[in-house]
């Protein structure tokens, strides 16, 4: 086995694993980043969603070999408990989590959506977020959180502009 190197949340990581290992297992077991969750293991629920380069990716069905040399972001990379990022803050403000198991994936998909489409329509939000499932049924709060996150991000862009 050869070491595989890629960037995780801004730091280069090198792991010595079978290249077919799902990225999710590497993140959780080797790098101790437990934000992304194992849900179905078949790419059907979205609990394992992380961002690779600029897109939301289902890490349970993405072999680590595909991300070598690329940039991976997990929910841990968006902020800390005492300093949450805008999307995390919006989910807190809207109390969008019930059991919380799906939320890290929801936050990452919302983050990727808003980076690509800063001001999405409700249809665009629904269509994109439909890939991630929530079994508690907090979808309406999640949708509100994504809308709130869009305005928080827009505000932070405005305040950081020269």
């Amino acid at each position: 086995m050869t070491a595989l190197a890629f960037d995780v949340n801004g730091r280069t990581q090198s792991v010595d694993v079978d290249p077919a290992t799902p990225l999710l297992y590497v993140l959780r077991d080797d790098l101790r980043l437990n934000g992304a969750k194992f849900g179905c293991g078949l790419g059907q629920c979205g609990a394992c969603t992380v961002i690779v380069d600029h897109g939301a990716v289902l890490s349970c069905i993405t072999p680590v070999s595909l991300v070598v040399g690329r940039r991976v972001r997990t929910v841990e990379g968006l902020g800390r408990a005492d300093r949450p990022g805008p999307v995390q803050q919006a989910f807190i403000d809207e109390q969008a989590a019930q059991c919380g198991y799906c939320i890290a994936g929801m936050v990452m998909r919302a983050q990727a959506l808003l980076e690509r489409t800063p001001n999405p329509t409700d249809d665009e939000i629904r269509r994109e977020m439909a890939i991630n499932l929530c079994r508690c049924g907090t979808h309406l709060r999640i949708l509100r959180a994504v809308r709130r996150a869009a305005s928080l991000l827009a505000a932070s862009v405005r305040s950081s502009a020269p």
């Binding site: 077919a20 078949l42 897109g55 069905i61 993405t62």
Partner: protein
Amino acid sequence: MSSAAPRRGPAPWLRASRVLVVLVALALGALALAWRPVIDPVDPPAASAFAPELVRRGAQLAGVGNCAACHTRPEGPSLAGGVALSTPFGVVYGTNITPEPETGIGRWSEAAFVRAMRRGVDREGRHLYPAFPYDHFVRTADEDLHALYAYLMTRDAVRAPAPENRLLFPLGFRPLIAGWKLLFLDTEPLAPNPRSSAEWNRGAYLVQSLGHCSSCHSPREVLGNEDRVRYLDGGDAEGWTVPALNVKSPSPLPWNVEQLVSYLRTGIARDHAIAGGPMQGVVAGLATASAADVLAIAVYIDSTLGSPTPSRQDLAKASRARASQPTLPPAVGPGDATLALGSNVYAHACAACHDAGRGPSSSSALQLPLAVAVHDPDPRSLIRIVLGGIRPIDANAGRWMPAFGDALTDEQLVALLAYLRRAAAGAPPWPDVAARVREVRTEPPA
């Protein structure tokens, strides 16, 4: 000595005015040819005016015709229009065909509806664009149009004006469509084939009328008309490669009636394909059609596919042999770095579902040596499936494949396609795969 004066024609002003008169006469003549009368508005008929059995039959036929594909926006109100259809001539919007009196067809008599279906003219006498496939609907039988009218007039009325079409100049001028019809609208009724079964004849009728299958499954010519000579030779729809349904079918295994019925009603044909792209809407419609009609369509399409030639039989044998292996063969040894990369991408990312014999596997995914998409004449459909996955349309059950668009780099995807073309299809490489990938990646979202 003759001193004849040079012959003098009419004065230039007179000549010009004669030309003008001729042009005006021609234009008036053309407009007269294009002119269609208004059909008087009616009061929207009450839903109770239609027998429930007739309405039910109309609903099944609307499933065959897939009206919703163009007349129901995703997540929009049923049949209220607004679907944007991109054509080489601009964008045409599907109209509101609910019985709403002002923005829908509530004031259309049955005669107005029949004229629209068969001649492409709306109640007010305006020519309709042939994005509305009246070149097929013209052959719809009276009793089927009667049932469809009953179905449409009993839907919920929704107030929704259609957006303005955005067409290339001068196509916004509707009388021009009369010229198109003169060339391409064949009003000759279908002649039944007395040597074939009633079921076959029913299928032939549905495919060539309401089903309008060849709208996508035949190539189109420069004026947007179907190429009648190359009937069911395959075409394209919304950027997907649409396979041929005749002897040119790319399917490695010959289709049979049972697999066709399964595909048409559920989108799942175990030995051929899972419906993706625009075909998903067709399947959603056919799932609500009558089982007898879908069987008839399958019987007819099975006949257009023809009996397999010896070379097709060889392909089928080779494909079955490939599919019987526990895994696709890896690209080993020195040689092509692209194939080696593609082989790894397949083994790590795809095989868990698509190979039955490689460790834990749901083994419910299509076996790729049998998949029509890897045998298609070009890679566009396969690219779209890998990038976007297969996602059943809302409120429909169906097979799900996750999207790999953001997981794969262009280099990885191109390598995967090259590998699948060789290892799964055993076919020569597609040309310009990288360019096709870039095209799909950079197109604006729908």
